[in-house]
């Protein structure tokens, strides 16, 4: 039997279409739905107003993360609005029988960290959440993407959303990454090449040696950032690395169910000759430690380079100049040596154990620069425990850093972790938009290694100069 070669994305997408609407979207079935306190309350209100129930409460999982404090989580939340949202999540999930890992629960953490680490995220699934970084879960060979609150209400009430099928893009990166080059550098490099809108309308498959050799944590970092070039999501074919990561996790299949699932997961790869609408090839050797200099994630460069001149910056000159003016930077400047006031390591992009290992590798035996305020925020309580168990906490403490409690924290600064106006932050998070980390804050996105180098030197520093 000869079949048309299919991409991994096609295989998963097509097997979840309940109904095709002519000249309209697909009615698309959702296997796993994550919710958090910020984008779900109005969806629950919608259910109330329509008098509709949650169709499959067992397929939705709630965690509180966006709006939570990262210190003193045992105390009542001070901000009444935040407290009210957290309470609403608790009430709504209890009412409809939805699993809820609220503040204080040992499973609590950032939604895109706790899903995978508890085995909720599996290959071949369709996964959505009212959060654009849901693309993270694509690291497992799942189709995962962010949705709006109207769509959260759709999934709660019918386990489906209405989606036109995106176009397909494949990004290949082959070769070997050099010393000090992390998955975050790979993704910032790709986005700098494609621009912040370069993959809009597409779903991206990442392929090639660099991703095959990457850990699951690294793959999650890459897929996480897919949205930052406009892609709906990113996906990586599951392999032995994926299966080894999943095996034994709490909600992963066990015994005969594992064997059955594994046999299916092994079919989840792009067939030879399958067609993509667009394809890119990059060479690992061209990738340096990256840092952003502007106000969208596409404005990134190798750390030893110079800020591009406006005519090479892509887009309109006025928008480019507005961006540099906001940052207080000028064309042709070097980034090395620029003063850093804040360092943030954490978020759904770089809040996993591997990220803290990398950070500790640089700070070990050094001291935090005196003028730097550092927020070290694990992605979950499980990551927090790993940091303690592996002795990383001791290294951090010795170097003058404090470990905080899990949450989204300074990535979007909904809680008190805000960078003050005009101050510079090197951040391992995903967005350097104006005011993203607090009104007037200036963000430079980078890897955990670059963040660590900035934290100990107080200026933008090439981490390779601090590595043995």
């Amino acid at each position: 039997m000869s079949q048309v070669p299919a991409t991994l994305f096609d295989k998963v997408w097509d097997s979840h279409v309940v109904r095709k609407i002519e000249d309209g979207p697909d009615v698309f079935f959702i296997d796993r739905h994550f919710i958090h306190e910020v984008t779900s309350p109005v969806a629950f209100l919608g259910l109330e107003n329509r008098g509709v129930k949650v169709m499959f409460p067992g397929k939705t999982f709630a965690t509180a993360d966006h709006n939570t404090p990262t210190i003193n989580q045992h105390l009542p939340v001070q901000d009444p609005l935040s407290a009210n949202q957290l309470k609403a999540l608790e009430t709504n999930t209890a009412k409809y029988g939805i699993s809820h890992w609220g503040l204080g629960n040992p499973k609590n953490g950032i939604v895109h960290v706790v899903g995978p680490e508890n085995g909720i995220t599996l290959p071949g699934m369709t996964i959505v959440c009212g959060d654009s970084h849901t693309s993270t879960h694509g690291a497992f060979g799942a189709i995962a993407f962010g949705i709006g609150t109207s769509e959260v209400e759709m999934v709660l009430s019918s386990q489906c959303i209405m989606q036109p099928k995106p176009k397909k893009m494949r990004i290949n990166v082959n070769g070997r990454l050099g010393k000090g080059i992390t998955p975050k550098d790979v993704t910032l490099y790709i986005i700098s090449q494609l621009t912040a809108a370069g993959a809009t309308g597409y779903f991206v498959e990442y392929a090639g040696e660099v991703f095959e050799n990457m850990s699951m944590e690294g793959r999650m970092t890459v897929c996480n950032m897919s949205i930052e070039m406009g892609a709906r999501g990113g996906i990586i074919a599951p392999d032995e690395t994926t299966f080894a990561y999943i095996k034994g996790r709490e909600k992963a299949p066990q015994g005969a169910a594992w064997d059955k699932a594994l046999a299916y997961w092994k079919t989840l790869k792009t067939d030879e000759g399958a067609a993509f609408d667009k394809e890119y090839h990059f060479n690992a050797a061209d990738i340096e430690p990256m840092i952003t200099y502007g106000t969208n994630p596409g404005m990134g460069m190798g750390i030893t380079g110079h800020i591009p001149a406006a005519e090479n910056g892509g887009g309109s000159k006025a928008s480019y100049e507005k961006s540099l003016e906001y940052m207080g930077f000028a064309e042709e400047e070097s980034m090395i040596g620029k003063k850093v006031d804040y360092v943030f390591i954490g978020s759904c992009t770089n809040g996993r154990i591997e990220d803290f290992r990398a950070f500790a590798q640089i700070v070990k035996g050094r001291k935090k620069a005196e003028h730097v305020t550092a927020w070290i925020v694990p992605g979950s309580h499980i990551v927090e425990q790993q940091i303690k168990d592996e002795g990383i906490l001791d290294i951090l403490t010795e170097a003058g850093f404090q470990l905080r409690q899990p949450g989204c924290s300074a990535c979007l600064a909904m809680n008190d972790d805000k960078v003050p106006a005009g101050k510079y932050a090197v951040s391992t998070s995903n967005r350097n938009f104006e005011g993203r980390q607090g009104p007037g804050s200036r963000t430079m996105l980078a890897s955990p290694l670059v963040a660590a180098a900035a934290a100990v030197t107080g200026v933008v520093t090439d981490p390779r100069t601090l590595m043995a």
């Binding site: 109005v42 609150t149 809108a197």
Partner: protein, 198 residues
């Protein structure tokens, strides 16, 4: 949530010739703490629109009384970043019913359509013509005709057609939403779920 039907919109427009306007600018995260869909228009473009002491920034277009209308015209890649539907709510709540750009971020586009805002994608050249027309006369009107899928600069008569799938068009013209559609096919969904691996 029900929204007003969209058929023909004839209105002056507010020009925002800035590229990559992300949803953090449209509504900063610190204003996402509500549990109801109310009052988001007050914080639309908060940090571009107001100083730290809450006084209006005079040079921002929404604070310039010569510009008004139900149509927002923006530079390419409008609505990038966060999936927060609050961005679309803020635009709707402020009084816009249509956003025109040469390029929209996906999630923002979906969110807009789901709440009754029409995102109109025009060519870069036509976008420039619209900006030029508004610059020449801030009271220049645009006509957006959803049924005909056309956008016209009334003063010059220049017009361009835009794409929208017929399902979404039908919904917008009638004020229907996807949840109504999905509720009507729940048996089919339940049967599908029976066969699901997960």
């Amino acid at each position: 949530m029900a929204y007003d039907k969209f058929t023909v919109l004839k209105s002056t427009a507010v020009p925002m010739p800035i590229e990559n306007v992300d949803t953090d600018q449209i509504i900063p995260a610190r204003f996402l703490k509500a549990t109801e869909r109310k009052g988001f228009g007050d914080n639309l473009f908060r940090d571009w629109r107001f100083n730290n002491d809450d006084t209006p920034k005079q040079d921002f277009v929404l604070n310039n009384p010569i510009y008004s209308g139900k149509i927002l015209v923006a530079g390419k890649n409008f609505g990038s970043g966060s999936s927060r539907e609050h961005a679309a709510w803020a635009i709707y709540d402020y009084g816009f019913r249509c956003v025109v750009s040469s390029f929209f971020a996906d999630i923002f586009k979906n969110n807009s359509l789901n709440i009754g805002i029409l995102p109109v994608t025009v060519t870069p050249a036509f976008l420039d013509k619209i900006f030029t027309a508004i610059e020449a006369d801030p009271k220049a009107e645009l006509t957006v005709d959803l049924d005909k899928q056309s956008i016209t600069i009334d003063a010059t008569g220049e017009s361009e057609s835009f794409d929208i799938n017929s399902y979404k068009k039908h919904n917008l013209m009638n004020g229907f939403d996807d949840i109504d559609y999905l509720q009507a096919m729940k048996e089919e969904i339940a049967a599908f779920a029976e066969k699901s691996l997960y």
